[in-house]
Subunit: 217 residues, 2 copies
């Protein structure tokens, strides 16, 4: 339609492919680790923020190991319903996993009030009691990430198969990521203040597409 | 605990207040429109991205009018389940509104396939048939925003009470926001490529807190 001016009609199936092409072009000859590039590009696709090419930290082979865990049917613990909403549950379910989120559990809310800590931290205590291998995807609450650090350090939880630690914000966010970086677990972190539930979901989805050999980048 | 190094214990209820104080401090003497400042600060709180202090566009009195609409019980149409998950439905419900999202409707998926357009665009056609005042919160799909433009331009939908237009991405995203800016409807837009479902939800929530005289900033 002529009144749409500069708009170009792009078939729905083309939009994502075209977007990734633009991202690759603008990254130019930046030296991304080829193993991690699909994760980095998907986060940029979700945020339009190229800062993530600098701030995403990957422990050695975190991408490969995270994808392996999901391929084997590992479930994903999140700290928000937003991250849960953003994760591709169809692909996750096909691989045998599901999304686990204790944040809306009334027991968690009550225990958080009683202990004077966040619901997100208490939700991690509940996850620690699950007797199964887990990927954690924390996009909002630094208190959840700190609690994972405490639980693993104290031997109260086995090392997760992967910790995706991308909380966003201004209070203890930077520090929570530094703690997990020093913990020696497989992890993907957005160093600094930025991150979010959308970023957490994007990283899980990138790993899911690698795990399921989805043709998407 | 000593091993937590630089981490400072902050009571859960304090975290948000403290975060907004840091945001205000770092914004310094930047001249934000006082009416819009709570919206801008909440978006920065959600993203840790100060770019939004420059890129958020408000049509005259959009914040006040959006808050008024929500105070009167107006419902919110979103384009993603992520935005839906992020909106404070407790406060929205108390004011009499709800979140409306057609994206998971099987009819929408089928119609999108048949017409070769996105599900998000078709979802807006369904919203246009609702006989009630609406706020639109579009955080993902520029095709949804373009469809709102087409529907209002063609007289097929009354002007929404507010259009929150913050899709993110690389294909037709910038252009979709320019179109809506020129449409003459009350709107809050994130000009440029950035945005997201988290940003859409943050803007709705900021308006909800203004509408309900919530003490939060």
């Amino acid at each position: 339609m002529s009144e749409l001016g500069n708009l170009e009609f792009v078939r729905p199936a083309e939009i994502e492919r075209r977007s990734f092409q633009i991202i690759s072009d603008e990254l130019g000859d930046r030296a991304l680790n080829p193993e991690d590039a699909p994760v980095i590009k998907r986060v940029i696709h979700t945020t339009a923020d190229f800062d993530y090419a600098d701030t995403l930290y990957f422990s050695p082979h975190a991408t490969e190991r995270g994808a392996e865990a999901l391929r084997a049917g590992c479930s994903v613990v999140t700290d928000t319903t937003m991250a849960m909403a953003g994760i591709n549950k169809r692909v996750l379910g096909r691989l045998g996993g599901s999304v686990i989120n204790f944040i809306a559990d009334p027991d968690v809310a009550r225990e958080a009030r009683e202990r004077g800590v966040t619901r997100s931290a208490v939700a991690m205590d509940h996850a620690a009691r699950l007797d199964q291998p887990l990927v954690f995807a924390i996009g909002n609450a630094p208190t959840a990430l700190v609690r994972i650090y405490e639980l693993v350090s104290a031997g109260l939880m086995p090392a997760p198969r992967l910790v995706i630690g991308v909380p966003v914000g201004f209070v203890n966010v930077v520090e929570s990521k530094e703690l997990v970086r020093g913990l020696g677990v497989d992890c993907i972190l957005a160093m600094g203040r930025k991150g979010g539930s959308n970023v957490a979901a994007a990283i899980v989805n990138a790993l899911l597409y690698l795990a399921s050999n989805d043709a998407r980048e």
